[in-house]
Symmetry: C2
Subunit: 210 residues, 2 copies
């Protein structure tokens, strides 16, 4: 009964199950954008999606379950990585993409809502982590290409470099409230590139003992 809940991506595209999922996730996304996660209610999602309440409760079970499935859907629409020929160019493209997402009125609210959901629910937290895994993996070739060109130390961890690009922009959105503007975007890319070149993100082969 819960088979298709565990693997929502495996449902036949265009079938009734896929159409129900699409309508429910759209309604859930709209409500998250309008009011955030704290008030997300399955009955309201069902009503807005024009889908039976029982179907929504049976398939997604909790508001966090809905958020988790929404994140699976969001991961599928991750944008392909850049290939500008230079590390700085690629990291700047990445920073711009993150900056664009976090300043888009709908997307920024949606990201804040799913991050909020992940703070209090393990299923949503695992889905959020999987979402960032997908994004960070998609963009890793920018870092490995720079290693191949000899622009970065061979032991550089692509995930750490790309996290360093995103982090200052998320910190502004979620914590300090400072603007996610072009200055912040450029600084995020440049700081990550400089640190990577200096070996700050090189994975050490010897573990510290303390």
């Amino acid at each position: 009964m819960t088979q298709d809940t565990a693997h929502p991506g495996s449902v036949r595209p265009g079938g009734r199950t896929a159409r129900v999922r699409e309508a429910v996730l759209r309604a859930a996304g709209d409500l998250l954008v309008e009011r955030g996660f704290a008030t997300l209610d399955l009955a309201e999602v069902a009503a807005r999606a024009e889908v039976g309440k029982t179907t929504v409760y049976r398939r997604w079970r909790t508001p966090a379950g809905l958020v988790a499935d929404l994140l699976v859907d969001m991961a599928e629409t991750s944008l392909p990585h850049s290939d500008t020929g230079s590390l700085r160019g690629d990291l700047l493209e990445n920073a711009r993409l993150v900056g664009k997402t976090l300043t888009d009125p709908r997307q920024s609210r949606l990201f804040r809502a799913v991050i909020a959901a992940a703070t209090s629910d393990d299923t949503a937290a695992a889905a959020l982590r999987a979402f960032y895994d997908t994004r960070l993996t998609e963009w890793s070739p920018c870092v490995t290409a720079a290693i191949t060109r000899g622009d970065l130390p061979p032991e550089t961890d692509p995930r750490a470099v790309l996290s360093a690009v995103s982090a200052p922009l998320y910190y502004r959105l979620l914590a300090s409230g400072d603007p996610v503007d072009e200055t912040a975007v450029s600084a995020a890319a440049e700081a990550a590139a400089l640190a990577a070149e200096q070996g700050v993100f090189a994975v050490s082969t010897t573990k510290p003992t303390d």
Copy 2:
């Protein structure tokens, strides 16, 4: 009637109002740590604090109002900045402090909960921003001292440097789920120091036109 709600710090220490506030904020903090923001309930807070429900509703009004006052209380306990004599030393101390907070079981849950509250409520968001203002201002002298020593460009923005130290650690806690460990802490401080030295956080006097 709501005078003391607007300026909760102004109540007489040790008075009945202060004792009620202390009990209510402790109960709210405990519940946020246990279950997060989404299920925070004023009646439950009142019961746990052994304070009348009416008092809690009248004074704090909403769960987000409680979180906002909790953040005022948390800002008052911000730790003083380091003075190790070097930028790297000071930024490493700052990164260690943030890392310690975000890995402490109680504190990390509390921070995730108040950040979640800020995603869906403007009052909580303003309080969260004021909290980070206090923290970033407290540590700014580490950056201005480095400028005075000639270690950083004079136009360096202290807030941007300190945000760069915190950001990768918050990104791990809230987004990627990667560990906030000693490697992450050292890399955060070192990357911020390198970028600051190269002028990445220098405030431009000419505004870009695009």
